[in-house]
Amino acid sequence: MNKQIAIEDVIATIPDGASIMVGGFGNPGTPFTLIDELLKQGQRNLTLIKNDANEAFIGISKLIENGQVNKLITSHIGLNKVVIDMMNQEMLDVEFHPQGILAEKVRNAGAGCYGFLTDVGLDTEITDQESLINYQGKTLKIESALYADFALIHAHSADCYGNLVYESSAMNFSPLMAMAANKVIVETSHLVPATDLVPAHIHTPSAFVDSIVDLALSTHKNTSAGI
């Protein structure tokens, strides 16, 4: 059960129009090499789901700037003036959620559920009256689970079965997205023998992962790292 695959082959399975979750909060955890391959292959009409838009000219910003993305579902894009301008010029559809609500929508899909109830943002303009219900004596908002066709994930370490370990603040949305997407594609800078990973320290168990790309073999390496 070896899930290792060539980056060209696995990214080629992503069709035009796909919805793709992308791990990362700013640079840490962003799968830069998988993104660069998607840029090279040029799939279009994509919906991306990521906490932020990276900074201009790196990460998913390259895909957006290249016109491959129709819609971005995100929390905050304040560090990317290029994408903010594209949004304001209506070249990109942007859907904002409170950060923890976005995380929970992804987590909820990852748990095989269809939504949850919350009071976050009830008194603000982000709440649509049609999404409110009365439940146990409280007025609450229905938040639907957020699924996706693919997730692109960067893991610090992985084994050939797809067990994943993340590093410090590079974890962020990655374990949630790895559960919520139908197909999970992972790049790792440390593809190690399974015996090197401690079972109790694994963040994402192998069953959630479909494909592993070894960055040590990748021709274009992790080029965009570093703030």
Partner: protein, 214 residues
């Protein structure tokens, strides 16, 4: 405006034992003004409890940033977790104090700090959940905007981040508490009179017998 004065005054709000979230911008600068013995866990919404300012001689870990994108370090006792756990911590009220900036605040304690329609709309980030769910929300802002208009209003005009969420407002001119009775003027900046502060504040201020200075 004396930004350092606001930051130094805000630093006095922190006491050992607290879990604290600092917003991007002014609040993060508080880290430059806290004593080394202060035993506080700083939470960063990207999945860190126990964030610490990085010092010049420490090496940078590219995987370790705070929610504003700055390289940081961690203290002893720190932990890392995913974004759903991070916001579970926030929505369950496990953060004792959050300190954030504001475009407008009002005398009901409501906050507007995420959007200026047609001008600034980078997204919500963690602001709504932090403002709505943290037991103690402290706001740092200039007392007046560049045209001299009060940022402390009778009623916020901009889209709200959260309603009736603020505990304390610290500006360059005053420290103001939000109470059930209204806004109470606790302290004024040295060199100002109470009347000068009242004049520069749109919201109604309750003036107690003793008003301190800072």
């Amino acid at each position: 405006m004396d930004v350092t004065k606001i930051i130094k005054r805000a630093a006095q709000e922190l006491v050992s034992g607290q879990v604290v979230n600092l917003g991007i911008g002014l609040p993060t600068k508080i880290l430059d003004h806290i004593p080394p013995e202060l035993d506080v866990f700083f939470q960063s919404e990207n999945g860190i409890l126990g964030a610490k300012k990085i010092s010049e001689n420490e090496s940078v870990d590219p995987d370790l940033i705070d929610s504003g994108g700055a390289h940081i370090n961690i203290r002893e006792g720190a932990s890392f977790f995913d974004s759903s756990v991070s916001f579970a911590m926030i929505r369950r009220g496990k953060i004792d104090v959050t300190i954030m900036g504001a475009f407008e605040v009002d005398q009901e304690g409501s906050l507007a700090n995420w959007k200026i329609p047609g001008y600034f709309s980078p997204g919500i980030g963690g602001a709504m959940e932090l403002a709505q769910k943290t037991p103690k929300v402290i706001i740092l802002c200039s007392h007046n905007d560049k045209k001299g208009n009060s940022k402390i209003l009778k009623k916020c005009k901009l889209p709200l981040t959260a309603k009736k969420c603020i505990s304390r407002i610290i500006t360059d001119k005053a420290v103001i508490d939000v109470t059930n009775e209204g806004l109470v003027l606790k302290e004024i900046a040295e060199g100002l009179t109470i009347n000068e502060v009242i004049k520069q504040t749109e919201a109604l201020l309750i003036i107690p017998k003793n008003v301190g200075t800072f």
